[in-house]
């Protein structure tokens, strides 16, 4: 399987502070990787470096193409219709048809000419997802894309992302602080600490008793009764 991104000895500093310190990471095409970490551990910094928004101070990032990004906020252009938003940065030829297909995939195929202001938070985030997928990326970067959604919408969005990723098979890096979300979606879970990958576990679709508690411990959450620190694990299979 070919790699969607290869990161070698990555270093990123903000002034005197080294946020990413010699990080290595390979994500294959079709592989869903979730990246957990406490606030300020550098996981968003890593994602920004991978997306090309921030420069790097050392090491290398190799990727075959331009990654697509979905941010925590939808970042739709309020002055453009939905299909114009989805085709932002796309070649003009057949832009509308391709945007229509992408919007149909996220269940908004009937609203090509609607304005972003008429969308709910979940719908807007689905348009952002369509805007990422229309680029047919080798690498899809998701920066806490469900964090601002309500609990029910979040579950639906997670199921939709899982389905679309299974269909398009980009390499995915999902940055999240939600352990259950990581377990429910990812093929591989990473925990970042001290500017590098401190913990790694491949899931491969098998049940992993005790993984949740293990991850919480990795994140510095004291072990307690199930569900005390986080919500109970959502069951994505039932959606």
């Amino acid at each position: 399987m070919s790699a969607a991104v290869i990161v070698r000895r990555l270093v990123r500093r903000y002034g005197e502070r080294t946020v990413i310190d010699g990080l290595d990471l390979v994500i294959d095409r079709g592989e869903f990787v979730a990246l957990l970490g406490e606030s300020g551990c550098g996981k968003t910094t890593l994602l920004r470096a991978l997306s090309g928004l921030d420069p790097i101070d050392g090491g290398s990032i190799q990727a075959p193409g331009k990654p697509a990004v979905v941010f925590q906020e939808h970042r739709l252009l309020p002055w453009d219709s939905l299909w114009r938003n989805v085709s932002l940065g796309q070649p003009a030829e057949n832009a509308r048809q391709r945007a229509a297909a992408a919007l149909a995939e996220v269940g908004l195929g009937q609203r090509l000419d609607d304005w972003p202001r008429n969308l709910s938070g979940g719908q807007a985030q689905r348009v952002a997802l369509a805007r990422a997928l229309v680029q047919q990326p080798e690498l899809l970067l998701l920066d806490e894309p469900f964090a601002a959604l309500d609990a029910l919408t979040r579950l639906k969005m997670q199921a939709l992302v899982k389905e679309l990723v299974a269909r398009h098979r980009p390499g995915v890096l999902l940055v999240t602080h939600d352990v259950d979300e990581a377990i429910g979606l990812a093929d591989r879970i990473l925990v970042m600490r001290g500017g590098a990958i401190a913990f790694e576990r491949r899931l491969d679709g098998e049940p992993h008793p005790g993984l949740r508690e293990e991850l919480l411990a990795q994140l510095g959450v004291a072990p307690g009764p199930r569900g005390a620190a986080h919500r109970p694990a959502p069951s994505l299979n039932t959606l």
Binding site: L53, A68, V69, F71, L77, D80, L88, G89, W115, R117
Partner: protein, 285 residues
């Protein structure tokens, strides 16, 4: 009455519902009645004005009756002279507006995008802006005489600043997160400007445009009053020589109508260009 009263059913009712409902029919007049009143009030003032003039309390040399002004309008319009003067004034305003607007917009875009341009231009423009531009009137007469150049210059000067200031402001206020999105989507510099910066700055630019329209008329009135061979201001000053207050009042009314008309056009532009904006566009959620 307490803020949240306990209903007989046992639950708390929202404070607004029980307070507003029983009072509404007694206190609040209906919308159509208020609308009628809002138009009746100025009409009554007109009737009072007409009555005062006809009864001789106000001499026609001081203030002519509205009916006299209307008759004068019809008479001047039928000879075509009024339209000629109106066209001359409109042409001056349009030319001055185009020159000042283009200059203000160009400078605003340059300063909005480039820190170097800001350092080179902004302080000087702000200094000149601090001067009330009408104070430059005597100077413009020395420079241009009392011809067209002087009037167009004064209008341009007045229009330049509001357009400039609001263009800079609009560009600087564009959401940095959307600019970041543009980079992630791989937009070129020019596409970023066209798709993100200018649409984002447009509400502010249109505000500047609307303000500039008002300033343009103010500048024109002052410039035309000083010296002109044609135009509405000339009509008014010419009438002053002969104590024709009806003509003077007519020009004032026309200035007012044009001001209201240009404001209406600006609002139409906002509604058309800012359909997407929750504060301007109709419909939506």
């Amino acid at each position: 009455m307490s803020v949240a009263e306990i209903h007989p059913t046992g639950g708390f009712a929202p404070a607004s519902a029980p307070l507003a409902k029983p009072r509404a029919p007694r206190r609040a007049p209906s919308g159509s009645w208020l609308f009628a009143l809002s138009w009746a009030a100025p009409l009554i003032l007109l009737v009072v004005w007409e009555t005062l003039c006809r009864s001789g309390y106000v001499a026609p040399q001081i203030l002519p009756a509205p009916s006299k002004v209307a008759a004068t309008a019809v008479r001047l319009a039928s000879t075509g002279g009024l339209f000629n003067d109106l066209a001359v004034s409109l042409a001056r305003a349009a030319t001055g507006f185009a020159i000042g607007g283009l200059l203000g917009f160009t400078l605003g875009v340059a300063v909005g995008f480039s820190r170097v341009a800001e350092a080179a231009i902004d302080r000087s423009v702000q200094m000149v802006r601090a001067v009330p531009f009408l104070a430059a009137l005597p100077l413009t007469i020395i420079w241009f005489g009392v011809g067209e150049g002087q009037k167009i210059f004064l209008v341009s000067l007045g229009v330049l600043f509001p357009i400039y200031v609001n263009t800079v402001l609009g560009i600087r206020q564009v959401d940095p997160k959307l600019l970041e999105l543009g980079r992630v989507q791989g937009l070129s510099h020019w596409t970023t400007i066209r798709r993100i910066v200018l649409p984002g700055a447009l509400p502010s630019i249109l505000t500047g445009l609307r303000y500039a329209l008002a300033v343009a008329w103010l500048a024109l009135v002052v410039a035309e009053t000083v010296g002109a061979q044609a135009g509405l201001g000339f009509l008014a000053m010419d009438a002053r020589e002969f104590l024709r207050t009806d003509v003077i009042v007519l020009t004032i009314v026309i200035y007012a109508l044009i001001g209201a008309g240009s404001d209406w056009i600006a609002r139409l532009l906002e509604r058309r260009l800012l359909r997407w904006h929750p504060n301007f566009g109709g419909g939506g959620r």
